[in-house]
């Protein structure tokens, strides 16, 4: 019989029809999930002449990196041909600032909500969840007008602010749930020692928060990097994030379409979240699991 930690039994040794079917299913699924990435890579490495041959799965005859260079620094949106590199740096600026602010504020909020529970804590938290659930379309027009009124329309400040405003619910939720699992005795002991709100946060709670800071940062970084809607509406021409620029480059209606450049640009836009995904592995999954709590 199975060992205690292996209730589903040991891995079957023999080759059975069931096992073959199981691995067959997994292999076909893996092919389905990998195929688009494979096509993206080989297309980006081909010349346009080779692409016109119409063999989308074919391995490139010779590696041609020029599409990547063009995608980075010469791809055109309309009449301007500055490549997607501009968008990359815009996205870096937007993401770094938005993640930093939202994680810091979310951690403080979560701490205040779970340990101090000031008057109205439950109400403010409940209302905060509106921002996580409700469709952005209901907020967007008044926000555009409001941002214009306070002079941050189409600016870096505007796009960062909107990311912080709508990242806050989830980050606060993540930290609140994380802190709920920390023994309250620790907090009480610090209170007995005479420590105040900020001292307890900085010296007791924050040092214990590293795992959640990592999870929340990963979660926020991928979310904000992949954002399109907010970038389109709030960033303004000079700060367009990579996703918006990418879509402008690929779905431009003027001129010839360079599919190799398009695919190289697409991969460049996917690179940052993919690197985070492959490097962080289980942390990324933890972020999904923690974020799923809201659902």
């Amino acid at each position: 019989m199975a060992a205690p930690q292996n209730p589903r039994g040991p891995r079957p040794a023999g080759v059975t029809v069931g096992r073959v079917g199981l691995y067959g299913f997994l292999a076909i699924s893996a092919a389905f999930f990998l195929l688009p990435a494979y096509v993206m890579v080989v297309t980006s490495l081909k010349s346009m002449d080779e692409i016109r041959l119409g063999a989308i799965f074919a391995w490139p005859a010779h590696f041609d990196l020029s599409a990547w260079l063009t995608a980075w620094s010469g791809a055109c949106t309309g009449l301007t041909c500055n490549g997607i590199g501009v968008g990359f740096w815009n996205s870096v600026k937007i993401t770094v600032l938005s993640v930093a602010f939202s994680v810091i504020i979310g951690a403080i909020n979560g701490y205040a909500l779970s340990f101090w529970r000031p008057a109205g804590a439950k109400i403010v938290f409940g209302l905060l969840m509106l921002g996580a659930f409700l469709p952005f379309q209901i907020f967007i027009y008044p926000l555009v007008r409001g941002f214009a009124a306070i002079g941050i329309a189409d600016s870096l400040a505007g796009i960062v602010l909107v990311h912080v405003l709508f990242g806050l619910p989830l980050v606060t939720l993540l930290f609140r749930n994380y802190y709920a699992a920390i023994p309250v005795e620790l907090f009480k002991a610090a209170r007995v020692d005479g420590a105040g709100f900020w001292r307890i946060f900085l010296e007791v709670i924050l040092p214990m928060s590293t795992p959640m800071v990592v999870v929340a940062s990963i979660f926020q970084t991928t979310g904000i990097w992949n954002d399109f809607l907010f970038g389109l509406v709030f960033a303004g021409r000079d700060n367009l994030p990579m996703t918006v620029q990418l879509n402008n480059i690929v779905n431009t209606t003027t001129g010839e379409r360079f599919y190799n450049v398009n695919m190289a640009a697409t991969m460049l836009a996917a690179a940052v979240p993919l690197v985070i995904y492959f490097v962080s592995g289980r942390w990324f999954v933890r972020g999904i699991a923690a974020g799923a709590v809201k659902g």
Partner: protein
């Protein structure tokens, strides 16, 4: 911060003046001590009241006016809603939302659950498979849409390749086919999000009590039967989470359509979120757009209500059991 000091001193019950601080040490923090905490949450209060509730009320209010490019105070009752549901594009977008929503959610659940069960069968390379199934979820909908647009390119995509290989009737040009464009959105959505369901369901499967497995095995029940009759019914919470997350995504679907088909051909793959954005910023139809977003809001609340109800019932039952 200066406010930090007022919460600090430890004064065990020193007369009436200090009584408001005294008991906080043992039980819940007292009001006065929580002043800093309250002040810390003031910005959040402002955010929820102004940015969430305030803007929502303003949007809803605009939906009852005849506003076009700029807001007006000319109230026209439910005229915008009447106009909205007389707009062919909106009706198409609602139909598409239903087609996309049903197929996308059902497809993700089926694929994700099958993948999770497969990985739960003690397979080799489990980590590698899991990484492969989830990586599209790390990518944006824009990237997803653009990749699938290329795969379905009618001149140079998979269709041409397959035909060159001899399968001359092969068609995979859904993005330019009026009748199939919305299914192209479904397919690319499945590719992007199935991994999410796999992760959630796998976590649920791993949480199933091993005793159940041992008992079922002793009884000689076939594996598939154990899954169908015993294990999957226990995964209700994981399933509810997955469905809710996917449903929220369905209502918000915007970027994927913009990148893949831009709502076309014609309005064949139009979706409500895109309809609203177009009318808000492209067509200067403020009243109509806010009416549509109010309908969207009500839809989301209708999706959330049963789930919130189930949650509160579960919480109440749990409390009752304790």
């Amino acid at each position: 911060m200066a406010a930090g000091r007022e919460t600090s001193p430890r004064l065990p019950g020193a007369g009436k003046a200090a009584s408001s601080k005294g008991r906080g040490l043992a039980g819940k923090p007292r009001r006065l001590r929580a002043a800093t905490a309250f002040l810390t949450l003031v910005p959040t209060w402002i955010v929820v009241l102004v940015v969430y509730v305030g803007t929502m009320i303003w949007s809803i209010q605009l939906s009852f006016t005849s506003s076009r490019m700029l807001p007006t105070a000319n109230y026209v009752g439910v005229e915008q809603y009447r106009r909205l549901f007389a707009t062919a594009r909106w009706i198409v977008s609602l139909q598409n939302l239903v087609i996309f929503g049903v197929l996308f959610i059902a497809g993700c659940i089926v694929i994700g659950t099958l993948l999770a069960i497969s990985l739960d069968r003690k397979v080799r390379f489990e980590n590698a498979f899991r990484t492969i199934f989830l990586y599209p979820y790390a990518m944006s909908f824009i990237v997803t849409g653009l990749v699938w647009q290329w795969l379905m390119n009618p001149e140079l995509g998979i269709q041409t390749t397959m035909r060159a290989l001899g399968w001359t009737s092969f068609t995979f040009d859904w993005v330019v086919d009026r009748n199939l464009a919305i299914y192209a959105v479904v397919l690319s959505g499945l590719w992007q999000s199935s991994g999410l369901v796999m992760v959630l369901m796998l976590a649920g499967l791993r949480g199933v009590d091993g005793e159940i497995w041992r008992a079922a095995r002793v009884d000689g029940i076939p594996t598939w039967r154990i899954y169908v009759s015993i294990v999957l019914p226990q995964l209700g919470p994981s399933l509810a989470t997955a469905v809710t997350l996917l449903a929220m995504g369905v209502v918000k679907t915007y970027d994927l359509v913009v990148a893949l088909t831009n709502g076309g051909p014609g309005s064949a793959s139009e979706v409500p979120a895109k309809f609203i954005m177009d009318n808000l910023f492209g067509r200067q139809n403020l009243g109509l757009a806010t009416a549509a977003s109010t309908v969207m809001l009500i839809t989301v609340l209708a999706i959330l209500a049963p789930y919130a109800y189930a949650q509160s019932m579960r919480a109440r039952r749990a409390r009752g059991a304790v």
